[in-house]
């Protein structure tokens, strides 16, 4: 299944959320939310705690009934999918198996209900590297193993769409690295991968696209680079270090760039990119010790975008 030779299944794996709304008694958990998720890419679903991520995913999966709007996977509502596990795999909570049941039996129960051959349970377990713990009871699993078992369950039907709610929660760095490689691999095979998280630094390493929500509303959607680029603040700034600061500042100002002086004599240049600065330095005969374009990081963008819309409502 992870051999990359996957034949394209009928229908696309596109997820379309349109006008989705969930009104609880006093809270509008999700408010007229619309976005799309494309196949072949990892999409990060971001928002502060309480932003409505989990509710949105649960509506997408027919676990929670929307107050309004629709959510479809490959053009169909989850409830209308025949053999849903062959289309969509979902990992919603790590602790969702009977404590007294072994890992392999947990998967066999699902196989039986989904009409999948029992052998899929062994294959899925091998896929996530849990074969040695197959006959251990779930209560003896570490958090990372539980998370892997959840992924194994999601992979039973070899689905073209993967949906994961906070999969990095409680994982150690090694587990997170494994998860990242695994999900990227799946997207590379052409599958749709939607991952919710509040861990932004992780998303920056993992996601191709991001959907950012706050207080149940869409804040921003697009490729990571584009969302970062749209935030001019902090973007395009270059750190420069040189023993001949005065000459370089003069040369750069001549090109109408703005130069500020940071701590330890670092120059922070805006209005000229790294190649332009390098060229100016060469022309002026200035020696450079550092030339680093500052990447605006997702975390800062995220905080700015969701400022004042925190989860406490």
């Amino acid at each position: 299944m992870s051999d990359g030779q996957r034949s394209p299944t009928t229908g696309s794996g596109q997820i379309v959320v349109s006008g989705l709304t969930k009104q609880y008694k006093n809270v509008r958990a999700v408010d007229n939310l619309s976005f799309t998720v494309e196949p072949g890419r990892v999409t990060g679903f971001l928002g502060p705690n309480g932003a409505g991520k989990t509710t949105t995913l649960r509506m997408l999966l027919n676990l929670v009934t929307p107050t309004g709007g629709t959510a479809t996977i490959g053009g169909q509502r989850y409830a209308d999918l025949t053999d849903p596990l062959r289309h969509v795999g979902a990992v919603l909570e790590a602790s969702s198996a009977h404590k007294g049941r072994t890992g392999i039996n947990h998967l066999r129960v699902i196989c039986a209900a989904a009409g999948l051959p029992k052998s899929r349970a062994d294959e899925a377990l091998a896929l996530v590297g849990l074969t040695p713990a197959a006959k251990r009871k779930f209560k003896g699993y570490s958090l990372g193993m539980k998370q892997r078992l959840g992924i194994a369950a999601a992979m039973l039907g070899d689905p073209r769409v993967l949906i994961l709610d906070e999969p990095a929660n409680g994982l150690d760095p090694e587990g997170i690295r494994w998860m990242r490689g695994f999900l990227k691999g799946l997207a590379h095979e052409g599958r749709t991968v939607l991952v919710s998280s509040h861990l932004l630094s992780e998303m920056q390493l993992l996601a191709d696209d991001v959907v950012i929500i706050a207080a149940g509303k869409l804040v921003r959607q697009g490729p990571v680079e584009q969302v970062l680029g749209s935030m001019a603040q902090g973007g395009g700034r270059v750190r420069v270090r040189t023993p001949q600061a005065d000459e370089l500042v003069a040369a750069l100002r001549a090109q109408s760039a703005t130069v500020e002086t940071g701590e330890h004599g670092v120059l922070l240049v805006t209005g000229a990119d790294a190649p332009a600065i390098g060229k100016a330095a060469l022309a002026a005969g200035v020696e450079l010790h550092e030339l680093t374009p500052e990447r605006p990081d997702l975390e800062r963008v995220f905080l700015e975008l969701t400022a004042g819309k925190a989860g406490i409502r």
Binding site: R58, T65, P84, L85, S96, K99, G100, R108, V109, I110
Partner: protein
Amino acid sequence: MNLVRSELLKIRTTNTWWVFGLISLPLWALTALINWLQTDALASGNFGDVPADQADQVTAAQSVDSLAANIYTNGQFFGLLIVMLLGIIVVTSEFFHQTVTTTFLTVPHRTAVMTAKLVAAAVLAMLFWLVTTGLNLVLGVLVLNSVDLGSQLGNGAVWTATALNALAYLLWSVLGVGIGVLIRSQIGATVTGILLYLGGSIGAAIAISILAARWGEWINNLQVLVPSLASSLMVSGTQIPGNPPRWTGAAVLIGYAVVTGVIGTLTMRRRDIS
């Protein structure tokens, strides 16, 4: 069919079934002992003076049909409790272990899932009935022969009682599933179920006899509305004078099972799983 298989696998892959089986055995043995003593006493007619107004009941209970039916349905009192608790666990363990999310992701058609649970609980109930009845056939032959009544295995009343006993097991397991849906908390549902079964019958019997003393004898007939009393009426081997007809017990119990089963399924269809 896949779903029922999955539900049965869920039970088989945890220790629930054998724990309940282990609990059932000593309880069966206990009721076996009681019923043996009772049969012995009734058959020998050796239990002192009987108040005149109860003479009819005692005579009925002393009948061969009644004695045989009673011994061949031995273990019912706790057996029904056990299958009801199993029915409860079939549902509540999904919430207790948060597996209900996976279950409904695998099969979004919740009516189908609930139907599978009802069928699985019924299958379990039938297994318990089968084992109990097997044991009872041995016990019954021994006890009835010991009081010189013969095995009575050719007696139609025995087989009617055995079949009605099966129906009781079936209905109580369905009731259990219904209770489990309505009260998701495993402990809450279990306690409610036990109270309904044990406390319910005792409390209701007391309440009804008090009411009967005040408003008249007819109120005694309302006893049949109490689930556990309805089921014991249904499986009583013979028509005891002064009791409502046996079929009312069956009707009431089927009514409860259908109502809890349907309400349970409808509730589950609408519920947000979060």
